[in-house]
């Protein structure tokens, strides 16, 4: 993932996205949408392609269109209450797999925060119920850029991680089996850290994981990531 993107995403997680800007430009967003078009249609008469159509996506529960076959991961996120508000769309567009484990959206993400804002503004224009969309906030860019790379740069202690991991493997099997509960072995460190912070900020909905993450310090998460990356 692009470094700046990671920083942005982490910052957003820590702020709970409360300060996300929506000052995007619809016309520029239409251009950004070109990279989405091979899989997603939008506008009058749009139908499902490889991905679902994106009319009325704002405020919709994730994975909830009954006539589209979603990944288990996306359905699970929706079942747990995740909605496509601007914050979640921004995170998903930036790095789909970081927000939704097991998503079918094989897309590297839109790295530029400006492009994402423009794209979201464009998508918003095709949703009739903007009440679910937070208004833009002028303080959106006032986050501290120094905090985020520091968290990502923490060097995890794998031995401590192994001890902490004993708590994870009560549910997540160490051999990578994933019935009912996803596998977490072999994840890249960055992705692991991003995901755990997403639970910590309650951006990801599962209450068990929110609780686990809430009790993990940044160093704990780094240690776990360092340990699980080495597991096969």
């Amino acid at each position: 993932m692009h470094n700046k993107g990671v920083r942005h995403l982490i910052g957003v997680f820590l702020l709970g996205w409360s300060a996300l800007t929506l000052a995007g430009n619809v016309e520029r967003g239409a251009k950004v949408f070109q990279v989405c078009q091979s899989c997603h249609a939008i506008g009058p008469g749009a139908t499902h392609l490889v991905g679902p159509h994106l009319n009325e996506v704002f405020g919709r529960v994730a994975g909830s269109l009954s006539d589209f076959k979603y990944s288990e991961g996306l359905r699970a996120a929706g079942v747990n209450g995740m909605r496509w508000d601007a914050e979640h769309l921004a995170a998903y567009i930036e790095n789909p797999i970081a927000l939704v484990t097991g998503t079918n959206m094989r897309f590297g993400g839109v790295a530029s925060a400006e492009d994402r804002d423009d794209l979201i503004a464009f998508l918003r224009a095709y949703s009739a119920s903007p009440r679910d969309i937070p208004e833009s906030l002028p303080t959106a860019l006032a986050r501290d850029p120094d905090v985020d790379p520091q968290i990502l740069a923490i060097k995890g202690d794998p031995e401590y991680g192994e001890y902490l991991a004993s708590e994870c493997v009560t549910c997540h099997q160490s051999d990578g089996a994933d019935r009912g509960i996803p596998s977490i072995v072999g994840w890249p460190t960055k992705q692991f850290v991003i995901v755990m912070h997403a639970y910590k900020s309650a951006a990801r909905p599962n209450p068990v994981m929110q609780l686990i993450a809430a009790n993990l310090a940044d160093e704990d998460i780094a240690a776990l990531a360092a340990y699980f990356e080495k597991q096969q």
Binding site: V79, S166, E167, V169, C171, D175, R179, G180, I181, V208
Partner: protein
């Protein structure tokens, strides 16, 4: 303990035992684990695995196949077959080098640091981990005894009692009455009695739809009450009637011959009766002087060490673990903390801060799971809750199905974590 029989045992058990294993400098330190459930099996596996042969781990467990209490209600409901909740200790021995001894631990001599077995053997230890689960306080159920459990099962320890209760429910006369006497606090698995009622109601709705279920409960409220009561009404109509003690008075007499439960205010005639007495720590814990007046074992919150003896650790249902419920998940969580401390003490490995957590899933009907969970931290006084969550009434069918699927994932995870 009988001193003479203990000494006799020491001689007879010379093959396995060395009375003071660490006296000789070259001897490996030894940990004896009493009880092969969620606490004991996990502790044995983690110490053996992480010490990589530096610690001699001996696990004492009477049964060769361990049937989990968790998910035993799903067997009653017909969602699991019995074999699927049975586990053996082969991998602990072959893959992790744990010495598994299928025998009863009959006593602990804390001065000599030895554990006596029913076979007559004694085994010396540097640390002993006591995880015997629960025994019953029959004084809470007048007239009921171990002998009566052949007719009125408690089914509160995994295995044949669970099979007996399910067989009785399946054979119950049409329109018969199933009476459960729920246990008073504190007891193993707080949502367990009510998950069992849900599973019995599911079974009877299919096989015996005019049957009745009465729950006599010494408590005025219970775990996940709103969720269970919502499900009973939704799925089982008026089959289930829950009565707190204020509705029936205290228990006067339980009679297994007449299948009656006489209370202050009423007499209940049962076709099938499930009597779950009040509970205390497994007998060996009290005989070793590890319990207090509550019948359970006080522990040091950040290590799970007994407050009576720093060479003894107590895990799971027999411990007083503060705000943590008596559950397999809790015992497994506590075991990892104890394993880390024991290893650090015996081998000088790194010590880390304790982490405790618990989640309890319950199945209330087909594809309808609910959960409750919390996180804990060790304070000087107790293991204290730092926050939690619970499923909500009125959740979508899809979320409930996902919660059930999650519970299956957890079952697979924790049993792999216990048995390898």
């Amino acid at each position: 303990m009988d001193r003479r029989s203990f000494l006799r045992g020491t001689v007879a058990g010379a093959a396995l035992a060395s009375a003071a294993p660490s006296v000789i400098g070259s001897a490996k330190p030894r940990v004896v684990v009493i009880g092969g459930g969620a606490g004991g099996a996990t502790a044995a596996r983690y110490i053996a695995k992480d010490s990589q042969g530096a610690v001699d781990v001996v696990l004492i467990e009477p049964t060769r196949t361990y049937y989990t209490c968790f998910f035993s209600n799903l067997y009653i409901g017909g969602y699991r077959d019995f074999a699927s909740i049975g586990h053996t200790y082969g991998k602990l021995a072959s893959e992790y080098g744990v010495t598994v001894v299928h025998d009863w631990a009959t006593g602990i001599d804390r001065d000599a640091k030895t554990v006596a077995l029913a076979s007559g053997t004694t085994i010396g230890y540097d640390r002993v981990i006591v995880a015997p689960g629960i025994d019953f306080k029959y004084e809470t159920t007048p007239g009921y005894s171990a002998a009566a459990s052949g007719k009125m099962p408690h089914a509160w320890k995994g295995g044949s009692q669970t099979q007996l209760l399910k067989a009785q429910l399946e054979a119950m006369r049409p329109g018969g009455t199933f009476v459960m006497l729920a246990p008073p606090n504190p007891y193993r698995c707080p949502p367990g009695p009510y998950e069992r009622i849900s599973m019995a109601a599911h079974l009877l709705t299919e096989k015996n739809p005019t049957a009745k279920i009465i729950v006599l409960d010494p408590k005025e409220k219970f775990s996940k009450q709103g969720l269970f009561q919502e499900a009973w009404t939704k799925y089982y109509g008026d089959m289930v009637e829950w009565l707190p003690a204020s509705m029936y008075g205290s228990i006067k007499a339980i009679n297994a011959d007449t299948m009656t439960i006489e209370t202050e205010l009423d007499t209940f005639k049962a076709d099938v009766a499930n009597i779950i007495p009040g509970q205390r720590a497994g007998h060996i814990a009290s005989s070793a002087g590890l319990t207090n007046d509550s019948g359970f074992c006080p522990i040091v919150p950040d290590t799970m060490q007994s407050q009576m003896d720093p060479n003894v650790f107590v895990l799971g249902d027999s411990s007083i673990a503060g705000d943590m419920p008596k559950s397999g998940f809790s015992a497994n969580s506590q075991a990892k903390v104890a394993a880390m401390v024991v290893r650090a003490e015996l081998t000088g490995s790194r010590a880390f801060p304790p982490k405790f957590s618990n989640t309890c899933w319950s199945l209330v009907a087909t594809n309808d799971g609910v959960k409750v969970g919390a996180r804990y931290e060790a304070t000087p006084e107790k293991i204290a809750s730092t926050g939690g969550f619970i499923s909500k009434t009125g959740e979508s069918a899809e979320l409930r199905k996902q919660t059930y699927e999650e519970s299956i994932g957890w079952y697979n995870g924790i049993t792999a974590d216990m048995f390898g």
